[in-house]
């Protein structure tokens, strides 16, 4: 049913720390690797090794330059479905294939009833849904619903593939509806925020801002231009010039 649940028991989601993400794309490739064989299988690619590769990915890593001058930063910015509390991608679906789970808030597409009309992707301001041209249905982040409850895999693996893969620990998974959870506490401590808050979809996933202050470079130091010494015709220079000529013969 594409009507949204009144409220969800849990609000499972991700917290992404923009301060320590290094933009290595390990989360994106790990996501692709797991999901092309899991719930979302297949995640089709076209011309993957050719000149014009394209394909369905559920996680994309942008890099932005933020600010200007010496204090500017490069911020690596992973972007995937935010599992919003009130998203229109669910309500616009004509078939009920796009739905939000009442028990944990995960937004999913039922690949058996999706007709591939793409309207849900039009309704998403985050560009989080990607159409699979081979499968004819819409694909999106499942929060690795086939890992997090999976009792056949070791307990430490029961987190989304992107979280498991992140080498810097920039991604965390948990219940953002529970104020005592580790993810909720890091959001409270670091001033975690919503993407495009003004839009009103109430994303569950949160982003932690890059830290500012002590780690920033002193602008006075970095604005000093590099000094390149000019030739001054000293004895040492003349000696090397003579050696260069002598050896070039």
């Amino acid at each position: 049913m594409t009507s949204l649940p009144e409220n969800t028991g849990k609000k499972l989601g991700l917290v992404i720390d923009l301060d320590i993400c290094v933009g290595c794309h390990a989360c994106a490739t790990s996501c692709k690797e797991w999901n092309t064989g899991g719930y979302s299988a297949p995640l089709s690619d076209h011309d993957p090794y050719g000149a014009d590769p394209s394909g369905a990915w559920l996680n994309r890593i942008h890099s932005y330059e933020v600010g200007e001058g010496p204090g500017s930063k490069t911020v690596h910015f992973p972007r995937s479905c935010l599992h919003c509390e009130e998203p229109d991608c669910v309500t616009v679906c004509p078939t009920g294939a796009s739905y939000k789970r009442a028990e944990d808030g995960i937004v999913l597409v039922n690949p058996d009833t999706c007709i591939g009309c793409k309207l849900c992707s039009w309704a998403c301001p985050y560009g989080a849904r990607e159409y699979d041209f081979d499968d004819g249905v819409m694909k999106k982040c499942t929060l690795c619903v086939d890992r997090i409850y999976n009792e056949t895999i070791p307990e430490e693996d029961r987190v989304p593939a992107c979280v498991r893969a992140c080498p810097t620990g920039a991604r965390a998974f948990g219940d953002l509806g529970d104020p005592s959870s580790a993810v909720s506490q890091s959001v409270a401590a670091r001033g975690g925020f919503n993407l495009l808050e003004e839009f009103g979809y109430k994303p569950v996933n949160k982003y932690l801002p890059p830290r500012t202050g002590a780690s920033d470079l002193d602008p006075a130091i970095v604005t000093q231009p590099e000094r390149i010494p000019k030739p001054d015709g000293s004895a040492v220079e003349r000696l090397f010039a003579w050696a260069d000529q002598a050896l070039s013969r």
Partner: protein
């Protein structure tokens, strides 16, 4: 937004079909149509044909057309589903009416069926407009003017079709040209107002809001996530250059509104003589015009998700 040809054909063909159905049904209920069930049948059959071509065309852009039946289930929340339900529901009175006219049966049911067909046509076209007007992600679509535009253009093109059919069968009541002219005038006024509205709004969302990094300064894309455009960029990132937009808008004004309008004015001035030709000329011009109008409706639409890919405002 990427202009899918199947959706352009769907919205224009079914729009004209529902417009024809509306005017035919209203005129019949008011006793303004010729007393020939066969002519009425042909007109309703043409309306149903255009609607059906449109609906079949709309399934062409689906990834899984064989599952299209499922789209009738979510009418509680989805305008796309409501449109499907309204379209199917409208087939019933209009189809029955066409059948009664075909076999030439006099029945007290024809007037109520005509009223139901007219109401169904309006509701279905309104739903088509609302599919777009309900998307908050596209400010050029998230407007009450969008369903109004769809309704007015369906009415104008449908009136031309009805006028042509009646003239071709040797009936040329002056009201068909008057209604066509009025429909074109209203549609033109709404479309120009629509263009002024979308031009005046620069967009309230910025890349700083999208990334939440505005407090650190200006946000500029440095490295894209992928080397070649992905689905989101091709589907939502389609844009038409500003200079082309202006030319195409002038083309719409000339072909969709001015030429057919002039044709109707001439017809009203010279009287019934050559009515078929005037209507045919108007229909040919309006067809070019409305296909361009619908293409522009998509190509001018800017999607919020493009903020992540370097669009400054949306």
């Amino acid at each position: 937004m990427h202009p899918a040809y199947s959706v352009i054909l769907f919205t224009t063909a079914s729009g004209a079909g529902y417009g024809l159905m509306f005017w035919l049904s209203v005129a019949y209920a008011l006793g303004l149509t010729p007393n020939s069930p066969f002519v009425l049948f042909v007109a309703m059959a043409l309306a149903l044909l255009l609607i059906t071509i449109g609906l079949i065309s709309s399934t062409l852009h689906l990834g899984r057309p064989e599952r299209a039946m499922g789209a009738f289930s979510q009418w509680r929340s989805s305008w796309l589903s409501r449109e499907g339900v309204a379209a199917i529901a409208t087939y019933m009175p209009s189809g029955l009416l066409a059948l009664l006219w075909l076999i030439g049966v006099e029945s007290s049911l024809t007037i109520p069926l005509a009223i139901l067909s007219a109401v169904g046509a309006v509701i279905t076209v309104y739903c088509t407009g609302m599919i777009y007007a309900s998307l908050r992600t596209i400010r050029q679509w998230y407007l009450g003017l969008v369903p109004a535009n769809y309704l007015a253009l369906a009415a104008a093109t449908g009136a031309l079709l009805l006028g042509f059919l009646l003239a071709a069968f040797g009936y040329a009541p002056a009201w068909t040209a008057t209604v066509s002219l009025l429909g074109l005038a209203v549609a033109a006024a709404l479309k120009v107002h629509y263009w002024q509205t979308i031009d005046a709004d620069l967009g309230q969302y910025t890349v700083e809001m999208a990334t939440g990094l505005g407090h650190l300064g200006r946000v500029k894309p440095l490295d894209p996530p992928h080397t070649r455009p992905n689905f989101v960029m091709r589907e939502m990132g389609y844009e038409v250059a500003r200079k082309h937009t202006e030319k195409l808008r002038r083309l719409v004004v000339a072909f969709l509104f001015a030429a057919p309008g002039l044709s109707m004015l001439l017809l009203l001035t010279v009287g019934g003589w050559g009515a078929t030709l005037f209507f045919l000329l108007a229909i040919v011009c309006a067809s070019v015009g409305i296909l361009t109008e619908r293409w522009l409706f998509f190509a001018e639409a800017r999607h919020v998700s493009m903020l992540f890919y370097g669009s400054a405002r949306a």
